[in-house]
Structures are given as structure tokens and as C-alpha cells.
């Protein structure tokens, strides 16, 4: 019995340090990704990260989705590396099918490679989606099995936008907060539901669930706004509407003070 109790204690303390991920994301089954790992981790500086890790056996690739809240400052070295005048990638944020950034800073893939990584930050909240391909050897070099890049980058964009929304909700309402708590926090901060607001202005709405992009049409005007982004397209003109669009339980929420000026 003593041995059993000791073993139980070991596993309990381990589970407390490595609890389950505090968010859920839906990936269509036909994409072939199977959940392999679900973790929530708090480091010694109280930074929190939740992540889901998936494996796809058909092409031997892996996919990781992280949502995090930082409570310690980023190191000077990290800032220097990311903002290097020659190789910095902080502003490299538009390599996505929608061509719209996510968060306030971050980066997206610069080209087809053996992996793709999208990093999006909103102040101390962050979302990170990484997809790794494996390779075989060809003429003395690794050749990555990235034939599905185009459809994968679309999935990665979709997940990154959803993860950004979750990160913002956690920032506003607390880590692991409920949908209701998130909604209250958004209302307190002046967010309104985007769909009904645009409809009240006479727009019709269509929704692209993969790009997480809503298209609003009225007469000759078309406005495109994407979840997790403070950019949008007014016709073909890229504009900044000043605050992130936050997705919550299938609804888009936005601050509309600047968007009002977009409407003809």
C-alpha cells in the first residue's frame, strides 16, 4: 500500500505541473491530424502556455498550436534577434492566404520550406502555430515532403487566428476563462458584435471559415475583416481599424469607432 501511495503522489505532482491544455480547437477530420499531446505549463516566471500537439501519419508531419500569456519581459537578446535590421522577422506578417496580419506583431512563413510557423502577439498575449514536415534524402540533401503546403498554410492561418482570439480572451478575462466571462470582458472594453453592427448599417455578410474572414457587402462597397487582425480590406485598399477583431464562440467582436469611418 505504501508503494501505491508513493506512486500516486508522484503522478499527482507531475499532473499539477503539466495539466491539460486549457483550450480546444477543431480541426476537420479529413485533414488527418490526430491529437497526440495536450498540455498547460506555467514556468518559474509565471509565464503560462497551453498547447495542443497533433500528428499526421499520412505525411508524417506534426502540428503544434500554442496560446500563451507572458508575465515576464522578453529578453533583450530575443528582441535583438527578432528585430535585427537585416534578418529581423517581426514585421514579416503577411505570408498568409488572406494577406492580412494577425495580432500586433509577429511573423509568417517567408516561403515554402520544411516547416511553417506563424507567431502572433497582442501585447503579452500570443498565439503560435507550427507545422513540421519530415524529409527524405535526395542528392545528398533533405527533401521535405511539403506537397500539401498550400492547404496546410490555410489551415495554419485559420488556427492562428482562432488561437489569437483565445489568447486575447485570456488576457482580458483570465487564463482558461469561460465564453461568458470573455463576452463580459469584451463588452466592458467597448467591443460589439461585428455581424449585427454591420447588418444594422445595411451590409450583408458572408463568412470564410478557413480564412476566418467576414466579407461585408453593401452596394458597391465590400469590406473584408479577419479574426485576430486589426487590418482589413476596404475594396482593394488595406486599412487599419485600430483594434483586433476577436472571435468568441462563433461570433466576431470589434471596436467600431474607426470602422465607422470606413462606411460610405
Amino acid at each position: 500500500m505504501t508503494a501505491l501511495l508513493s506512486l500516486t503522489t508522484i503522478f499527482l505532482s507531475y499532473n499539477q505541473a503539466q495539466s491539460e491544455c486549457k483550450f480546444n480547437l477543431f480541426i476537420p477530420a479529413e485533414r488527418g491530424f490526430v491529437l497526440d499531446l495536450s498540455r498547460h505549463h506555467i514556468d518559474q516566471l509565471s509565464n503560462e502556455i497551453s498547447y495542443l500537439f497533433f500528428l499526421r501519419s499520412s505525411s508524417k508531419s506534426s502540428l503544434s498550436v500554442d496560446v500563451g500569456l507572458r508575465r515576464s519581459p522578453r529578453s533583450k537578446q530575443t528582441i535583438e534577434i527578432e528585430s535585427d535590421p537585416l534578418f529581423g522577422y517581426l514585421n514579416d506578417r503577411r505570408g498568409l492566404p488572406s494577406k492580412l496580419s494577425i495580432g500586433l506583431e509577429g511573423w509568417t512563413p517567408r516561403g515554402v520550406s520544411g516547416s511553417m510557423k506563424v507567431v502572433a502577439r497582442f501585447e503579452n498575449a500570443s498565439a503560435q502555430v507550427t507545422l513540421h514536415y519530415t524529409a527524405h534524402k535526395e542528392k545528398g540533401k533533405p527533401r521535405f515532403n511539403n506537397e500539401t503546403w498550400d492547404e496546410d498554410i490555410a489551415l495554419v492561418e485559420s488556427l492562428a487566428r482562432q488561437a489569437m482570439s483565445i489568447a486575447v480572451r485570456w488576457k482580458l478575462a483570465g487564463v482558461g476563462s469561460s465564453i461568458d466571462a470573455g463576452r463580459e470582458s469584451l463588452i466592458e472594453r467597448g467591443y460589439v458584435r461585428l455581424g449585427p453592427w454591420m447588418t444594422s448599417k445595411g451590409f450583408t455578410v458572408t463568412w470564410d471559415p478557413m480564412k476566418r474572414m467576414a466579407t461585408f457587402t453593401k452596394g458597391n462597397q465590400t469590406i473584408k475583416l479577419a479574426e485576430g487582425s486589426r487590418e482589413g480590406f476596404d475594396g482593394s485598399v488595406r486599412k487599419d481599424h485600430g483594434s483586433l477583431i476577436v472571435g468568441l464562440n462563433g461570433e466576431l467582436w470589434a471596436k467600431t469607432s474607426q470602422l465607422s469611418s470606413w462606411i460610405n
Binding site: 508522484i10 502556455i49 522578453r74 529578453s75 516547416s115 503560435q128
Partner: protein, 389 residues
């Protein structure tokens, strides 16, 4: 008709002196084998260093009304090596040992501790096999018990340190394979560097994508997800250096901070052109795989004041001889740049001139490959990562 009494059954085994161990799924239980209602749960491996002090004791259960004093006899211990040879080990300094043990009725009992020693003093691994008997001759009616048990057994150079203080089994198996037979820290470090470079595990992503792939937003290295991703994966110099650092730590090699090699240069671009390098993942025996690359910094492992760089291979050693391998245990100067007059060796070649930069976003270059080599000593700093995840 007489009914045979149930046999004595095995429960726990407890090793002491071995290193705390875990794998990608979490910590291993200690004691190493734990009896439970669902059966026996065995930790997959035992880790010990070459000077380690390993002892073991066994727990059994007597499911009968007979009690008394028996004899617990460990009659052999050996290490079965991959080539099917065996190394005999000592038990309390002899080929075997025995001691009396009190066996209660309907209760569990532990054997005394037995000291195991005699494995070879270099990095290696095998199957630890221990044969024992519970002799119950002195207890009429009680059937004795005996068996041989096996555990994966890995011999470290030194006790694991730093992030590997609870050593990850996967990394220990990897380093044991790379540095098999070594008893010298520097040579083990070279083996780990070469082993990782040639492992077909990391592939440098190339000029178009220099970002690190295995760090989270808190600067922690995502070892769990890396180990769960099989085969070749992309990784830049920081990914490779941190992983090599963890391999060093798993063998107990000193955990000096990682080193960032930086260079400001006369144009204040912080950019330099490398020597012809063959990045990790490519075949270093093929000359066409060696090309220059533009960098502003580079991360390497520092151990005992020398540099170990598994991210790349160079064609020439510091003495101008043919090399075609990753730099390992090179001085900072040897690794960075040595001017031999008409020739030079090392990682760095010269500063990038502003006229060679076509675009900053994305970075695009038109290197003038006829410009002479010209470099100064790098401005090195340490790189601290936030732990492992």
C-alpha cells in the same frame, strides 16, 4: 489431495544511486518496478555513471500462513551487451551474495540491499540481468521463489546535469549511441557533435527561413514536441545548439551557457558572410553542398572553453588540412576565423558590404564572391534559454 500453496510473488524493486529519469511522457516511477493490482509496472531503464554507486533491493509477498527465516540469494548479475557478450558484475564485491530474510505470513518483505558494481568505465549500455532466489528450505511447507530480471542499463560519463538533472531517456539513448566507448569528456563532446550533425535529424532551413522553430514564446525549448516529431525536421543554429547542449548535459558534461557569436563590422550592419559551409542535414562529403550564407549571429555550444558546432561542416581544419566535418573542440579563434595569408579557415569570411544588399525585407543579397576575406574576432555573448518544455 494436497493443495499446493501459492508461490511467493514479486512486487517492488528499488534501485538507489541511479539517476532520476523521465521520458517524453513524464517521470519514471521510483521504485523502478512497482507492483499494482493491474500487474507489474517496470521503469524502462536504469541510468548510472561510470563511478556510480548502485544498490538494489527486492520486495516480495508471501500469500501463505507459513512464516520464518529464509535466505535471499543473488547468485549472479551481469550486463548483456548488444553484441551478445556479457560482462559479469559483482554483487557486494563477489560473484554473488546472500543474506537471511524474515518472511512473514500473509505479508510482504524486503531483501537487504545488494551492492552492484563492475561495469566498464566508459559510456555504454546493455541489459542488466540479476538472478536471485528466495530459499525457504528452513520453512517447512513454503515453496521458495526464484527468477532472473532484466532492465535497460545505461552507463553515463558523469551524472546528468542542468536541464537533464532528471535525464530524458530518449536523449540518454541517443548520446550513448553517439559516444559509445568514450571515457574522455572532450572526446565524448566531439562524438556528440558529430553524432548530431550526421543524425539526419535537423536540417538547416536555409537563407529564406532563418527563424528558430523549436522555441515557445517564453523562450523555452519544446523538447517534448520535437521528440514526438519523427524523422528530419528543420532547425536553425539556436535549435541545433540547444539540442546539442542538452545532449552534453545528459552525459554530465559541464553546462556552460550557450555562446552567441556576433559581429558588428565596419558597416554597422551586423552582417557577415560565412565561409563555404555545409549546413546540418546535407551530405558533407559533396563539395557542391558547401556554400556561403549571410548571418548576423550564430549560436554554438561552449564546453571547457572550446566550441562545438553541430550546425555546419567546414572543408578545412585550422591547420589547412582537409576536414569536411563539423567543428568540435576548436578554440574560439579557430572556429571563427584564422587568416593564413592566401587562405583562411573558420566559419566567418568577411563583412557584408552595403552594396551587396538588394533588399532588407525580405533579405536579398548579391554577394560579390571575389571580395577578399577579411574578419575580426567576434563579439561573443551568452545565450540563455528559458528551460525545456
Amino acid at each position: 489431495m494436497a493443495h499446493a500453496l501459492p508461490p511467493i510473488s514479486a512486487r517492488d524493486v528499488d534501485f538507489t544511486g541511479n539517476h532520476p529519469m523521465r521520458n517524453v511522457d513524464g517521470p519514471y516511477a521510483d521504485p523502478e518496478v512497482t507492483w499494482s493490482s493491474s500487474g507489474t509496472e517496470a521503469a524502462p531503464a536504469i541510468s548510472i555513471d561510470i563511478d556510480g554507486n548502485l544498490s538494489v533491493k527486492f520486495e516480495h509477498y508471501n500469500n501463505s500462513d507459513k512464516s520464518g527465516t529464509g535466505v535471499f540469494q543473488v547468485y549472479f548479475a551481469e550486463l548483456l551487451l548488444p553484441d551478445s557478450t556479457t560482462v559479469p558484475l559483482q554483487v557486494n564485491g563477489n560473484s554473488g551474495a546472500s543474506a537471511s530474510v524474515s518472511i512473514p505470513a500473509y505479508g510482504s518483505f524486503w531483501s537487504p540491499n545488494f551492492q552492484i558494481s563492475g561495469w566498464d568505465p566508459w559510456i555504454h549500455g546493455g541489459q542488466l540481468r540479476i538472478g536471485y532466489l528466495v530459499d525457504t528450505t528452513g520453512i517447512p511447507g513454503l515453496v521458495g521463489y526464484g527468477m532472473t530480471r532484466e532492465w535497460r542499463f545505461l552507463v553515463n560519463l558523469e551524472p546528468p546535469v542542468g536541464h537533464m538533472a532528471t535525464v530524458w531517456h530518449e536523449l540518454l539513448e541517443e548520446t550513448t549511441a553517439y559516444a559509445w566507448g568514450e571515457d574522455d569528456p572532450t572526446q565524448a563532446g566531439k562524438d556528440l557533435t558529430f553524432g548530431l550533425y550526421y543524425a539526419q535529424r535537423f536540417a538547416y532551413p536555409g537563407q529564406e527561413n532563418l527563424t528558430s522553430n523549436w522555441f515557445d514564446e517564453s523562450n523555452s525549448f519544446k523538447l517534448s514536441t520535437l521528440l514526438r516529431t519523427s524523422g528530419w525536421v528543420t532547425g536553425n543554429c539556436y535549435d541545433v545548439a540547444v539540442y546539442l547542449h542538452l545532449l552534453f548535459e545528459s552525459q554530465g558534461l559541464s553546462n556552460e551557457p550557450l555562446l552567441r557569436l556576433c559581429q558588428r563590422g565596419p558597416y554597422d550592419l551586423r552582417a557577415f558572410l560565412s565561409n563555404d559551409i555545409c549546413p546540418i542535414g546535407s551530405d558533407s562529403t559533396i563539395p557542391s553542398n558547401y556554400n556561403p550564407i549571410a548571418w548576423t549571429n550564430h549560436c554554438v555550444v561552449l564546453f571547457d572553453g572550446k566550441i562545438f558546432d553541430a550546425c555546419l561542416a567546414l572543408q578545412k581544419a585550422p591547420d589547412l588540412s582537409g576536414y569536411w566535418n563539423p567543428p568540435a573542440s576548436w578554440t574560439s579563434t579557430q572556429h571563427w576565423y584564422v587568416d593564413h595569408g592566401q587562405e583562411f579557415t573558420g566559419v566567418a569570411k568577411r563583412f557584408i558590404q552595403p552594396s551587396e544588399i538588394i533588399s532588407f525585407d525580405p533579405p536579398q543579397f548579391n554577394f560579390d564572391l571575389h571580395l577578399p576575406h577579411e574578419m575580426t574576432q567576434s563579439e561573443d555573448t551568452t545565450f540563455i534559454f528559458g528551460g525545456i518544455l
